[in-house]
């Protein structure tokens, strides 16, 4: 494991964008909806993540009209982003297996 904890926000955002292009508010609402409200973050903190992905070339952005009729900045997963997603998914699975392995050695509680 490279890190003690993995910042899962990036992983979640990349996963959502692998399905379709989305704008910031849409990502927030989708995250909440798909995770059955498990993931509800401070909404503004999504943007440093998005801009970081853009600076790294994992996503591209463009202006388009949202379903609301307003112009919004859409994010699109690039090929580099797809590869980063694969790596992060693998890292997550390794991490999750590691956590699970430790948990399974714990005595049953109550």
């Amino acid at each position: 494991m490279k890190k003690k904890t993995i910042d899962h926000t990036e992983l979640l955002v990349l996963t959502l964008l692998s399905g379709e292009d989305m704008y910031g508010y849409q990502i927030i609402t989708e995250l909440s909806r798909r995770s059955d409200r498990t993931f509800e973050m401070k909404e503004g903190t999504l943007y440093p993540v998005l801009h970081g992905l853009w600076k790294n070339g994992a996503v591209e952005c463009y202006e388009a009209e949202a379903p609301t009729g307003r112009k919004r900045k859409y994010y699109h997963l690039t090929r580099k982003g797809r590869e980063a997603l694969k790596v992060e998914q693998e890292e997550w699975r390794t991490y999750a297996r590691g956590v699970e392995a430790v948990l399974s050695t714990a005595p049953a509680l109550g």
């Binding site: 910031g24 909404e43 503004g44 943007y47 440093p48 600076k55 307003r70 112009k71």
Partner: protein, 242 residues
Amino acid sequence: MADFYDEVLSHIRYATAEERQAIRAELEGHVEDRAEALEAAGYDRAEAQSRSLAAMGDPAEIGKGLDKQYSRFWLILSRAAAVGVAVLCISLVMAYPLHRLYFLKENLTARWAPMVSSFQTLEEKTGTTGWDPELKVEIGNDILSVYWVALDREKGEAEVYLCNYDQNPFGQASEQLGGYVYISNTAGDWSRSGAGGSTGGAAYRRLSEIPVTPEEDHLTLTYDRFGEHISLEIPLEQEGRE
């Protein structure tokens, strides 16, 4: 009072003005969408607005997070192309200041289309036609060009047109050079009058009233300065060319 967005932007040190504007617009759009959803859920406008802003989180945290992405390195890199072009232009101008472009014009004119005097020439006085002897010699950093000769056998007189210009097309012509040029005939008589001028890129000189004997077939041009002695023969046509 600074609003939410000003607070966010205040933490971003190295974004350009365009990037700041884009960040503000993106955050405003997000808040607008959230507020609209809350209004649809029954909140009044003011309540929806304040809840939406609160839902964004701490503006300082957002600002610092964005600041990490808009690093100084990227700012420098994004301006590198513009700076590179500016440096190139400046270095070109510095290497060749504007007056040197003017020298260039005069230099090339002297090379390819040197002037024949605008005031009355021997040819006009006597009705003869001169010719271009096409003689060039290097003197120091300059090239001395004998570009026109006029001859009146009857009168026994010749007129020689000279110009000098720097070997470097951008360079300045030597103003003193022409003063050290003399034309003489085989008998050793020198030209009696000369006139000329220089404007930087080229210096012109017309040597007049050069005595010419009927049998003479050439004149001699002499340059003598700083121990440098150059001698050039100017062939004379038997008659002035028609």
